[in-house]
Symmetry: C2
Subunit: 364 residues, 2 copies
């Protein structure tokens, strides 16, 4: 029996991705070779890389607009470093919006390379909302933001209008909702949420912003070198890239981003409505900034934790424990999580209320 997997990442992928990628490990494309033992320069894998890079630009509506899609190694954490190396002018400054742990990690790396302006932060309120009304210095080399904060359950619903290039870490909500993606100059995302196996990172970059920082960039960090090498500067994470292709092929059958967005909104509504209705729980993020990917919520009575944990585990749910920075629970509802899994969770929450609400009141 498959679990209802609410894990924050690595996380659930479509069942057909598991099946097809497992098959490819035994015999890839009827080649009598495993995908693990073929050269990344073989015709079959070059075709995988070309198709997945093209699909990314197609989904984001960025074909023919001067963008390139790359699948690199190192995780979003390496992009925290690649971004300032490539984009932060030697004598310039970078602007960052501080919306959580990962935004903060990005800021730490940038600080080694030049002046780093934090335009706004919600740290004082434990990152329970997305700051507004901030000013981006006009002379900044770029503005960096995190579109979705996995740990805190918040999500940017709009992005600033600015002449400064916008860099966005979309690790936990890439391909989950329609946006005008041409407002971004560089997007990056670790694969292990909405794309595929951990081990590869998507970078989508507008070529015209590159080559201007005035830095001597180490080859492995140089986006231009990766573009020139068609995302094969060094051996890519072959299997992880292939899982991304399979996931994007699945996404196409769901009607692309617009199609999956409707399902994601239905899942998020179902769960947030229950969190708000159910007397046993409360959400942690400010409502207007709630993420449709990661819903964070607490028990009104923490003493009932053991009882609730037992119930959801018995219902076949996994990965619901919240991050230590927030506590409580986190339900991650990435693209591949079926609506039925959210329904199972909501049913458990209702049942929990029925069983424990009186008891909870008596205990007060």
């Amino acid at each position: 029996m498959k679990k209802h997997n609410f894990s924050a990442g690595p996380c659930i992928l479509p069942q057909e991705v598991f099946e097809k990628s497992a098959q490819s490990v035994l015999n890839f494309n009827h080649s009598d070779l495993s995908i693990l033992e073929i050269s990344h320069r073989s015709k079959d894998f070059v075709a995988v890389m070309e198709e997945v890079r093209a699909l990314v630009l197609e989904f984001l509506g960025l074909e023919g607009k001067g963008y390139q899609a790359l699948f690199l190694q190192g995780g979003a954490s390496l992009e925290f470093l690649r971004v300032p190396y490539n984009l932060l002018n030697v004598d310039g400054k970078a602007a960052y919006l501080d919306t959580g742990t990962w935004a903060n990690n990005a800021i730490k790396e940038a600080k080694l390379f030049g002046e780093t302006v934090i335009v706004a932060s919600s740290k004082e309120e434990n990152y329970n909302h997305i700051p507004t009304n901030y000013t981006i210095p006009e002379d900044a080399s770029y503005f960096h933001c995190t579109s979705n904060n996995t740990i805190f359950g918040t999500q940017m619903k709009s992005f600033p209008k600015t002449a400064v290039p916008i860099v966005c870490d979309m690790s936990s909500d890439i391909f989950s909702r329609t946006l005008d993606f041409s407002q971004f100059d560089l997007i990056y995302a670790g694969a292990q949420k909405n794309m595929g196996a951990a081990g590869t990172t998507l970078v989508v970059v507008k070529e015209s912003i590159l080559g201007k920082s005035g830095r001597a960039i180490p080859s492995i960090l140089d986006y231009q070198k990766h573009i020139k090498a068609e995302s094969m500067y060094n051996t890519p994470a072959v299997f992880a890239v292939y899982t991304c292709l399979l996931t994007l092929q699945w996404l196409k059958k769901q009607g692309g981003i617009a199609g999956i967005e409707k399902i994601n909104e239905a899942k998020a509504s179902l769960l947030y409505n229950e969190i708000d209705r159910n007397t046993m729980f409360r959400g942690t993020a400010v409502k207007a900034d709630r993420s449709i990917m990661n819903a964070t919520f607490l028990l009104e009575n923490p003493e009932l934790q053991e009882s609730f944990d037992k119930m959801w585990k018995e219902a076949g749910i996994s990965g619901l424990t919240g991050h230590r920075s927030v506590g409580g629970y986190r339900a991650s509802m990435y693209n591949a999580l079926p609506l039925e899994s959210v329904q199972v969770l909501v049913d458990v929450m209702k049942e929990f209320e029925t069983l424990y609400s009186t008891q909870s009141q008596l205990a007060e």
Copy 2:
């Protein structure tokens, strides 16, 4: 029918690694979850990481000697950068031995960080041998060498005695032969030859050499941060790391490095003896420096290429085409390649000689 896969990397892995890792994609450890959808901080994956890190030190005989094993992202190409960032003193110099394309790429990255002394190079002879009789500056922060040169088919049989820390790129011969590994201070190796799926890189480092360069090291590049985080500073390439564990478990059953070394020597002898005996072929590397992992050889009569290619392809052999830097053929005989595959190649070479040696002579 399984191919005889002589690919230079990504390359053949043990059949049981294909089977067990495919199974883990469908259902990992009877968890009813795919290995692709579990948290890297789940108990099951933490156990994988701990076991594989311990096995590495056990195989290398480095347990309890102040070394740490890490599985990082980025490929050996990122280690070309991490090494100088961590080890090259701000006002110091680094010493490099130039034995091929990859050594050269490592040198290029180091040059951005300080004085880089090339102690010797075989570039003028198209890297057909390993230089000897060179001096390592006593004040170098470290000495860097490449133990096996995949492209040129050469391998270092011994390593210099020096008080300077030795850094060795063992990407293409790690775990293939017995050595006193305590002579090295830092070893790194991309997984995709003798270890597992592309997407993870092994780093084995003596802790006492770290923290001395006087540089502000970006977090993602800082070996000390990765050690402190027990190789989980950021999401590791979960699946690729698991394939490494499976491969090392297989290696243990082969008698560890000493066991596989005997088989590797038998494979190399079989092929090199044929290259030397057969009038149709000649090797490209100086005999004393021949690699037991990658044998490079040329046709005496290049006009017969099409005929020879047809024959080995019909015999079920794949991945034999040489790298463009050398031409001709390259037979990569990594740990998982069975002796039988080498025998099939040798048989084809003999048959080729029988069929074409007269014709070849007539054509002269």
